[in-house]
Structures are given as C-alpha cells and as structure tokens.
Amino acid sequence: MSMAAVETKKITLRTADNHEFEVEEAIAMEFSTIKTFFDENPDASEDTIPLPNVTSKCLSAIIEYCKSHLAFRARETSSSIDEQVRTYDEEFVKARDNESLKELILAANYLNIKALLDMLNQAVADRIKNKSVEYVRRFFGLENDYTPEEEAAIRAENEWAFEGVDPDDD
C-alpha cells in the first residue's frame, strides 16, 4: 500500500480554561458539533474554535479517545480488533471517578460525539444497574428530597424491582 504524503490539516480548539489544542482535521470531524460548524462555514477552518463548555482535562481525554478509535477503525475489522476496542473502552472508564465521568458526558454531549457518549452513558448505567436505591444515592451524591409520605408511595410503586439487587459493597 503506497503512502502518499498528505498535509494533514490541523484545527485549533480553545478550551474553557484557555488552553489551545491543535488537532488533526480527522479528529475534529469526529465532533459532530464542529463538523456541522465547518459544513456551514467552510471558510472558518483557519480560525480557532472556542469551546467554552469543555475543560482542557476533558478535551485531552476526548482527543485521546477519538485518536485511538480512529486508529482502530482504520484497521481491518475482526473479532480481535473488537476485543481490543472493548478493552480500551473499559480501561478508559474504569479508573475515572463519577465526577470526571460526568464532565466527560457533558463534554461529549456538547461536542456531539455519539459513540463516546453512548459508551460513557452505558458505563454510568452499569454503575446503577442492580444496586439498591440507597447505594445509588450515595454513589452519585444525591439527596433524598422526598417527604416520608412521598417516599412510601414511591417505594410501593417500585417495590417489585427491589427484590434481587446486589448486596451493597460498602
């Protein structure tokens, strides 16, 4: 396969905390929000794109994710590639705490990166699955703001689901 020397176009992005990131066009096009912007403003590709809703920490993680997934997609599909993608995704979320997951979700939502958003949403859903209500409250820092009567009514309505949850691990 011959490799033609191609000038890869770079796009500059500026985060909320004023860091500038230079990314290859291919990666920037993974962000549907930015792709749409360029589709509508083809002359704007030289400008720096401000991303007031995204921190540099988030953006660098997102850029890493998109880079890796672009590389995976460039290779031939096979079950071993699928396995590698799964492992990569698992590692990507595993170490992150809820707070950074939340920031990533908001950023992926703002930038409209469907695959990443789906993956992150699934990861959070997995942290809710089969857990008790008390666990979910503690884990996500939610306050139980129901009155005792409301709590009882909601409990009765949803009682059927509460049998068979995982025992809380802490």
Partner: protein, 355 residues
C-alpha cells in the same frame, strides 16, 4: 452534582437501564424521578426484551415479567387499569391492549412499569372480533415511543336491517394524528377468515401485514399496505402442526410450529413465498418443555427482535431462543417457570422494557 445534570443528558443515561434498574433510579430523588417521567425513554436496542405474562382470568389484576438478564420473575400490580385487558401487541415500551369487558373492539395503550393507561379513540365503524395488526414506523428511532399504526380488518358489525354482517372495511389508526382512517375494502372471503379464524396478532414484514389462522389447517393471509392487495400463503405441514405462530425475526417473516412426536421447527419466509427451515428446538429442551409428553398442543409462542419464547402455563418453564451477538449468534435457553403461582393460563407477549 449528578442531581443537576440537564434532563436530556440524564435521560440518555436512563435509556440504557432495564426496567428494574430504572425503577430504582426513579426512586433516588425528585430530580431523577421527574426526568424519568418527562422522558420515557425508549431505546429498545439497549435491552433484551422482557417476557410479560398476563393471566387470562384477570381476577388477580397483576402481571408477571421476566428479567432475562438475571433470570428473575417480578410481579407487577395492574390495579391502575380501569378494566381487565388482553394484550394485542407490543410497541416499544408500551403494550397495545384490548379491554375484555366489552365485545366491541376498543384498544388502549398501557405501560405496566410506569402504570400508564390510555384509551385510543373509538373506531369509525364499531365491530366485534376483527383482526388487529400493528406496524411500527421506523423502529429504533431515538426519542419517545415510536410512531405506529394499527390496522383493524374484518370483524362483524351491525347490518343496516338488523342482525350482523361481516365488516369488509379496513381502518387504520395513526399515532401521529391520534385518529382512525378508513382505508378501503377487502374481499369478503378475507373478512370472514379474519373474523372467524384469526384471534391472533399480526406480524408486519417488508410492507405486508400477515395474519395466520388459529387452527389446522393453518394458512397465512398477507395484506400489502402499499397496494391494498391481499394474498394467501401456504404453511409447511399446515394440516399436521399442533401449534403454529407467526413472528418477525431478523427482517423476515418467521413461522414456529410443532407436530406430534417431532421437534418443533422454525421456518423463515424466503423469496417466492417458500419457507426454509432454519432451526429446530433442541431435543432435550423439547422433552423438558413437554414434560415427557409428545404432543405440542397448548404450546404458544411469542417473539420480538432478539428472542423467541415457547411457553405453556405459567408454572411450567419456557424455551427461549435468544440473540446473543447481533445478527450473528442465537442460543437456546431454558427459563424456569414462576413457582409462586402455578397452573394459571396466560396470554403473553414480549415487551422491550424501558420506561
């Protein structure tokens, strides 16, 4: 703070939860409860279908659902229903139902998880015992429940001079404008067959609504929605099958049936209206299911994307053929019947549970 996440973002996360986990999330705090209620999210591709069992004698006013992920049965109260119901079809997270306390057909939508119930408007032409078919437009589209259409064909209505007559009109309900439209007429012979011989639900595949007769000798009628034409299909071993059910699977019309003393089979409709055998129920599962008997009578079958269930009474077990890897692999499972209630006749269907 998770409690201040914008609703549309949170709702997307909820769409990945199965009904039981979502019930838990709903109970956590007001914000999450409101979000779940405002965005009854339907992304059926994220979940395996849940099997819903409705006792045919609805005195108990409850239903039972099976969670395929953890192989567990749950009981849901149906005390929010104004009348006893029979299921007709599943539409995303909703069930299309028929109140059973009147002979004239009326339809309603119900979600047993969120305890929602809503009547559809009355038909233009009242009739008893027609065939009902559901077409879901663009299944898998994001957002709230998909748009759908309900077709009602045949049945008996009041004749102009008293008595009853076979009703040859076809009506269609469109969820987009929440109204019934008369779509034309059908040959009387089909109206008769649809009224007398098909209490079963229909299957929609590739522009055609199919209904099957309810007993030997089985035959299938297809109504082409675009051209409003009817045609008839033969059924393999039509006069020997002890049970038969029509389903939709992997984009094809699928038939499940069994003959006495032999394995139950699954066929797929192929080009030229022929049927190709694609699978048989594994012998051990078949034996377990029939409890040592050889007859498949009283077996019923339902299916939705990703799973086909063979069942009998509530206490006895089910045989399930489930999609494991998308479009690639299907496997057979045994599901133990629900043991705290035995010997209740049930009507069932599968619903993609997400609320």
């Amino acid at each position: 703070m998770w409690s201040t996440l914008p609703f549309d973002v949170l709702a997307k996360i909820f769409s990945f939860l199965s009904p039981d986990s979502l019930a838990c999330a709903r109970s956590a705090c007001r914000q999450w409860h409101t979000c779940a209620r405002t965005y009854p999210s339907t992304l059926p591709q994220h979940h395996q279908a849940w099997f819903l069992a409705l006792p045919t004698r609805n005195r108990g006013q409850c239903c039972y659902v099976h969670n395929p992920v953890v192989d567990k049965w749950h009981m849901l109260s149906l005390d929010f229903l104004p009348d006893p119901i029979r299921p007709v079809a599943s539409i995303g997270t909703l069930i299309l139902v028929r109140p059973t306390n009147c002979t004239i057909l009326q339809l309603a939508l119900c979600n047993p998880f969120t305890r929602q119930f809503k009547y559809l408007p009355m038909l233009n032409i009242t009739r008893t015992n027609p065939a009902v078919g559901v077409v879901i437009l663009e299944p898998g589209q994001p957002g709230p429940n998909p748009d759908f259409r309900v077709y009602v064909a045949g049945g008996m209505s009041e004749a102009p001079r008293g008595g009853a007559t076979y009703e040859a009109t076809l009506e269609m309900y469109d969820s987009v404008d929440d109204a019934w439209h008369i779509m034309g007429f059908m040959p009387v012979e089909f109206a008769v067959r649809l009224t007398v011989w098909t209490p079963n639900e229909s299957v929609y595949s590739d522009g055609v609504l199919y209904w099957m007769t309810s007993a030997r000798a089985y035959s299938v009628m297809g109504f082409h929605l675009g051209s409003h034409t009817w045609r008839e299909l033969s059924v393999p071993m039509a006069d020997r099958l002890e049970f038969a059910a029509l389903l939709w699977r992997n984009g094809r019309l699928t038939l499940v049936g069994g003959t006495c003393g032999e394995d139950a089979c699954i066929w797929e409709l192929t080009e030229g209206d022929g049927w190709g055998l694609i699978e048989k129920v594994p012998i051990e599962l078949g034996i377990k299911f029939l409890g040592g008997k050889r007859s498949w009578g009283s077996t019923k079958c339902v299916g939705s994307e990703g799973a086909i269930c063979l069942y009998r009474e509530f206490g006895s077990g089910m045989v399930v053929w489930r999609e494991i890897e998308e479009k690639v692999r299907w496997e057979w499972f045994w599901v133990e019947g629900c043991h705290f209630i035995r010997d209740k006749q049930v009507q069932n269907l599968q619903i993609k549970g997400s609320v």
